[in-house]
Symmetry: C2
């Protein structure tokens, strides 16, 4: 299982990283170290792998797709740095977060630097032969995705103060916060080769649904994942009062008393381990995990259905594996 | 004096603002209110005016230059929001800063949103007939400027902990932090019409030198400006330990004892009004103001010299006025 994906990742990850390191270079060293910290610490490179596998499936050479691949990974890492400041998270990918190591001022600035570098990477596609028309389209698409991510981030923040977030609102939020960049990754992979609207729409459906499935699975891992595997403290979603799919579901199902109890722990920064476990158990008691698994599978199947409309190539199998991976992953 | 500039500003500012409001629109409302807060509060729109006046001087229609003009003003406002968080400033343009009103999480995100919107504005230049080649060049140039700004911001932060910043280092920092966006504004104005290298180099020289002069004048206003005119507390540079040109100069001129005294107040968050005034007087006693005025004038004259290589049009006078304005402004 996941053979094609693992093989492909092995083949391309060093190229992606080399491209990123070549673009994200400069002075002062402190700033660049901070900007590259999480990239160096690991990460799965899912988004650039989507760009590359989509582009290859549609007939492009790998090299031609690298600038767009680097761009989406750089954007992803920029959002992680700013998210960690916003959520006051101290660990990510098994290492201290950027603001923990360099302070908030440098961390904000390092995120801003990466944002700029993403568009620099994008512009380099011209040098490897992507048509300028499609580079401008890619810029427009990536910029819109970045606005959408900011909107999703804001919804996530504002939801912390609300007790009545509906499943529909949750789904809009995760589409924006997570789905939009997966969507952009798939579409940018397409734009390396074509601007055929039906193909781009298919890619959009693939990326969007995959991204939503990914985030739902992320919510699940936040509740039942192993700390040493996911690289950050479990239950941090509860401590931060995040309206995950599990919390949204549980708040609708619990009786008045248990609901009040759960609400009293959600977002309590000083919550003890016992309280966090109590909250987790209240959530689990509603069958929220089962609901979330089914929901994630539903979106993953939509993503898979979109894939079947692409040419039947080796690299398409990589993307099919990726759909499975999103569901089975433990980190 | 400044007649041409004032007339021109009157003619174009509403168009710039309308363009920005059209691009920066969406939900959640809270996020967009935060993002637009400083734009609504005022500002001089110097950077977009440079874009427009340069483009018109080179023969473009105003409408064709509006997307690039909006882009640089949006970038400027994004940097203000993040700068205010970093410097913990509470007032700007006579109103509370974004993080004071909406909190840090929304403020970081509002800045990120504007960043994305700048590139969205840029991409719209295609719709008004700017060639895609030059739009890609503009993206590349603006992205590089944004990286440069982040580098300058990081230098500014790192300088706070240093006592031996040289004038040369200061000049690199202000070029990066402030000069780069003025430079990009002038070059983007050029790219509306042409990609002739000598013209773009001339515009670069104009923008870069103007920007450096602007920042030196800003340092001066931070020491001797009137609070109710500049819209923020005077002496905040001293409280934050900023290595302004005045501080750099003074630290090189003061005797050991006075130097130690100045250093003991620089960056002291709890400094009293008396201490801040004492520090200001120590700085002034070295002749730093006179030195800074001369330095600002020197850069302004370089900017003016570059202008004389552009076609002799009405709109060039606007830019000439702007050089004067940078020197005489009191806010």
């Amino acid at each position: 299982m996941l053979e094609k994906f693992n093989e492909y990742a092995k083949r391309v990850v060093d190229k992606i990283d080399a491209y990123i390191y070549n673009v994200v270079r400069g002075e002062p060293e402190t700033l660049y170290d901070a900007a590259l910290h999480l990239i160096r610490a690991g990460g799965k490179r899912l988004r650039p792998i989507i760009v590359l596998a989509v582009a290859e499936t549609l007939g492009a050479d790998l090299e031609k797709a690298l600038p767009f691949a680097a761009a989406v990974e750089i954007v992803h890492n920029f959002t992680l740095i700013h998210d960690d400041i916003i959520d006051e998270d101290e660990m990510r990918r098994g290492v201290p977060t950027v603001h923990k190591l360099w302070g908030q001022a440098i961390a904000i600035t390092a995120g801003d630097l990466l944002y700029a570098k993403a568009f620099t990477a994008l512009s380099k596609a011209v040098e490897v032969g992507v048509s300028v028309d499609r580079v401008v389209k890619a810029m427009e698409y990536l910029a819109r995705a970045c606005s959408t991510i900011a909107e999703g981030q804001a919804m996530d923040i504002l939801f912390e103060d609300r007790e009545d977030v509906s499943l529909d609102e949750y789904l809009v939020m995760v589409y924006k916060k997570t789905g939009a960049l997966f969507e952009a990754s798939a579409v940018l992979g397409g734009l390396v080769v074509t601007d055929d609207e039906p193909i781009l729409k298919t890619l959009e459906a693939f990326g969007r649904n995959l991204g939503i499935a990914f985030q739902i699975k992320d919510d699940i891992l936040g509740l039942v994942g192993k700390e040493e595997v996911i690289g950050k403290p479990v239950y941090s979603d509860i401590r931060e009062g995040k309206k995950t799919v599990l919390v949204v579901y549980a708040l609708q199902r619990l009786d008045q008393e248990k609901r009040e109890r759960l609400l009293s722990i959600l977002g309590k920064k000083s919550a003890s381990r016992e309280e966090l476990e109590e909250a987790a158990n209240l959530i689990i008691s509603t069958g929220a995990l089962d609901f979330a698994y089914r929901l994630a599978r539903e979106y993953a199947e939509k993503a898979r259905a979109a894939l079947y409309r692409l040419p039947d190539k080796e690299t398409r199998r990589v993307l099919e594996d990726l759909v499975d991976y999103v569901l089975v992953r433990d980190r």
